[in-house]
Symmetry: D3
Subunit: 228 residues, 6 copies
Amino acid sequence: MRKVSFERNFSKHAEGSCLVKFGDTHVLCTASLEEKTPPWLRNSGKGWITAEYGMLPRATGERMKREAASGKQGGRTQEIQRLIGRSLRAVVDLQALGERQITLDCDVIQADGGTRTASITGAWIALYDCLKWMESRNMIKTDRVLKDHIAAVSCGIFAGQPVIDLDYLEDSSAETDANFVMTGAGGIVEIQGTAEGTPFSEEEFTTLMHLAKNGIAELVALQKQAIA
Amino acid sequence: MRKVSFERNFSKHAEGSCLVKFGDTHVLCTASLEEKTPPWLRNSGKGWITAEYGMLPRATGERMKREAASGKQGGRTQEIQRLIGRSLRAVVDLQALGERQITLDCDVIQADGGTRTASITGAWIALYDCLKWMESRNMIKTDRVLKDHIAAVSCGIFAGQPVIDLDYLEDSSAETDANFVMTGAGGIVEIQGTAEGTPFSEEEFTTLMHLAKNGIAELVALQKQAIA
Amino acid sequence: MRKVSFERNFSKHAEGSCLVKFGDTHVLCTASLEEKTPPWLRNSGKGWITAEYGMLPRATGERMKREAASGKQGGRTQEIQRLIGRSLRAVVDLQALGERQITLDCDVIQADGGTRTASITGAWIALYDCLKWMESRNMIKTDRVLKDHIAAVSCGIFAGQPVIDLDYLEDSSAETDANFVMTGAGGIVEIQGTAEGTPFSEEEFTTLMHLAKNGIAELVALQKQAIA
Amino acid sequence: MRKVSFERNFSKHAEGSCLVKFGDTHVLCTASLEEKTPPWLRNSGKGWITAEYGMLPRATGERMKREAASGKQGGRTQEIQRLIGRSLRAVVDLQALGERQITLDCDVIQADGGTRTASITGAWIALYDCLKWMESRNMIKTDRVLKDHIAAVSCGIFAGQPVIDLDYLEDSSAETDANFVMTGAGGIVEIQGTAEGTPFSEEEFTTLMHLAKNGIAELVALQKQAIA
Amino acid sequence: MRKVSFERNFSKHAEGSCLVKFGDTHVLCTASLEEKTPPWLRNSGKGWITAEYGMLPRATGERMKREAASGKQGGRTQEIQRLIGRSLRAVVDLQALGERQITLDCDVIQADGGTRTASITGAWIALYDCLKWMESRNMIKTDRVLKDHIAAVSCGIFAGQPVIDLDYLEDSSAETDANFVMTGAGGIVEIQGTAEGTPFSEEEFTTLMHLAKNGIAELVALQKQAIA
Amino acid sequence: MRKVSFERNFSKHAEGSCLVKFGDTHVLCTASLEEKTPPWLRNSGKGWITAEYGMLPRATGERMKREAASGKQGGRTQEIQRLIGRSLRAVVDLQALGERQITLDCDVIQADGGTRTASITGAWIALYDCLKWMESRNMIKTDRVLKDHIAAVSCGIFAGQPVIDLDYLEDSSAETDANFVMTGAGGIVEIQGTAEGTPFSEEEFTTLMHLAKNGIAELVALQKQAIA
């Protein structure tokens, strides 16, 4: 696994924020609190956690067209931001949050593979700090809203070997690529596995799942350190 | 598993077509051949398989806004059509296809859960018939282009029990929901698992994977019957 | 005139639905009820009937770009859906409907000329069944809301001869092409005539109008049979 | 019929231009020549005539949203510009025009009913002047390209009486409203009739058609005067 | 400076309107009153002045794509309409206007340089007439709402010489181009200076500013004549 | 003036990059080289410099809607990116650059007033490093392409006093706000002055211009240090 770091309070305006680095992949995660829920939750007593994802045009080796300029978010962007939102909601008690919305913006400053797993892992820190900010104003109790840690990592088979936390080069040539999202207690929240070349077997998949389990445990330990 | 049927040649214009039914979920899959590849494959000697997905506005219990009218395809639509395309490409030799593109349109006429798995399973039939159409014109050899069957099924944990091929009601209240895409040889091509409520364990996931394996073997047998 | 058939209750979810076939032109018409009117009718005591029209990408001989993907409905689509809406409203008492909206979705599954006339003719059946559904719930009286039948047919001059219900081939090479929408009582609701090549004379137009009158009388008879 | 006037060469830049007035309805029609055809006519030796239509936001009694600001042209706009294009093409020999495109922009400066019929009638003048401009540069022969005059008028039944060239007030309350496009020789090019309230009979429609024939003959006479 | 003229009441529908000509640049300015403010001013007691700008496609030497057809307003359009809005607001007491919005539409009928300065200068007349219309209905007092005149002119250095009110040819080849917006009292409201080729010096800029001051004084005198 | 710093090579992928800070305003500027020019410069021997500007949604005190999600770049964004592009082009010899395009992306990571002036000032560094990168590959000579420094600063009148480099608070309540873009040699490239409340006098404007001149000289000195 590449060197992972969290820089809390990176942004002076956001209620919670974190610059997360998985090697050369750098993502700025901010949590923004709004005192209203989406329309379909009005008067339900419940809140909502949502996420948006973006990449700076030159976060990548070749400049990508700016989505704001092309007039829409691509399929990959939407897929990732839906994944981030679902992952974080899996450890939040929306009733205990109350009728509020927290938006997690994950903006990739520099990309080198694993931007979605770094985003989820860093967004948890931003969310935690946002909840602490709310707690300090007597709005909620953090430990009643946030039920567990959540972290994510990619695993794959590269040159016949199982590897964890693939960088861009490994990711591009991996035969198989799976993203795992798990809680601090080791529960599985999301699995997304894709065979790029030849299909994979159940045994291969089980190997990746174990690898992920260990990696995520490590990431959760790092999150604990970061908020200590 | 619900009653599954394939009605080939449903559309008089398409090179291949199939109305697939998984219970009350009905999807029209058509395969359209074009004698050109996308720009990034030009002069590579390779072809491309792509997919588009849509739902008729009243395929569902409540009428949904027509995507053409709202001016964009939603995140869910894009996620599904990307999945269908990747799944079919996993069993196609793009080199043997030559510089052509086949577009698989999967349009949901009636929805009752599992529209993406029905789409993949039915699209394979439409693709097969399109390749046979090409073979009859001496453009390709079907068995050199199409390496294997591909089929998909959803599995979940509903009311504490593992179930396969969830309908809308089961899907809405399932604790866990996973889609599996596998080849005729049993190789895994895609896994997408999501915990809706509480996270799931490795054991639960393994149970679902075995359930899926059997279900997909059955779907592949039905595909073989359909093209016999 | 080509063989015309109506398959009622084609869709399990819609309040009314009908798969109409004019030869190889197949259109799925659904009627969806909503308990609210558009903004400009609020508190007027009146309801509204509106229509949307779409074609599956491979309904036609060559695959057409999906409108949801290109991000807007083309001029032809908008023209047709406006026509369908106006035609149906011509036989509905919006006051008797009450503050509700019924949306008629006409989706072309397979096209072979005359999709707009088939849509109008089939949408009437879907609307009728929707109103019967409402009547069975004591919401309205069908015969107070629906004042008459409505049906439509195209007529043209093809190879010097007046013809009715043109298929795609005739339509493409017709010198003149007119669509007529009439009520069961024979009243004219819409006329759209276009000279494709040389202009046409008043006499030619009168011939087409008579042809249409007879054809529409036949369609209305078929509608009566269908709902009997 | 309201007072009709044509002010040629209203615009200093366009190859042909005309400010047409039908009473208080004022439309600026310009013809713009481009030395290329649309893609589907390339290397066919044929040219193309197309039209675009717009209304200034405050051309109407209440300000309408600017279509450029709302991000798309509405259904009515598209319907009208398609009608204008078809109408003008009906009197043009596209082969004699050669591989060029002439765009007729019809922009409504002030509206008081009948903007589409004024647009067609005025666009003919702009087109004529554009062709003369081309003739003076030895590009074409005007009388080989332009086969006849084209003009349009609306007729309707208002307060039980047939009326011609309806202004906004008449148009809004007319029971029936039909637009006719005819050539100088009296040939019919387009008919669009709509019953707003009760359906109309064949006799009523024939009355409107005769009324239109006379009105259009008058408009053609005025066009002849204007270009004399 | 080119010949400047104002034709008031050009549009029969608008509360205020003016066709302004700066030489061959002709802009139709209309003022439209609405009895509501934008959301962010609700219940503030304040009104709002906003502007929209557009060019007819053939206002220019070469036909430009219609913004409504291309689906968005370009950067230049947005820049200009923001400038017009800010300029007019600078002389309006929004509190005295009350909770209403006046929209100034500036549509360029014919362009020959200086469309933004003509728009501002003409919009003032349209606004004045709109306020007078309101005053005649006892809604406001014009002189309490409208604090001063506002007018605008461009200045530049062309062929080494300072020039005022540049036409298209001068504008295209000017080394420097600055737009000035000033009040009747000579106060500066907006300055936008751009070096097209070599940067300019403070002295050059001061020369342009003085030139503008005189030109704007002249324009204000013409406005006074026009409303006298 | 607030503390200004430049962090070169912030991004590992871009040909040139710089994180510029003006106090709490932090902008990441990257320069991306492409070996092709825009269509209108093809075969002219000339290159092009363009700029795009964006803000992360939570760069500001309140979260702003993501432009990629709302489907278009706002007027302010377009205005700023056009300004950045023009400013940089003012010191580049496009002929010496050759048929290439350099895109300067200025993405605001954190905003506290003056984002456009920081963007211009930082983009110069990114451009310089991009040209040095090209020079090291023998593509160009930096000093033949880059004719001078360019830097920008805002000045305003706040609480009756002229101030330089306004932060968000000062900017929001300043009576007058002007942005100046000048070269290393002191030439003026852009001036944008706006009276927010009462108009300003020529004297006030001259004061601001002198203030800006000194400030920009200081910024240019800091740029020189940064690239030393």
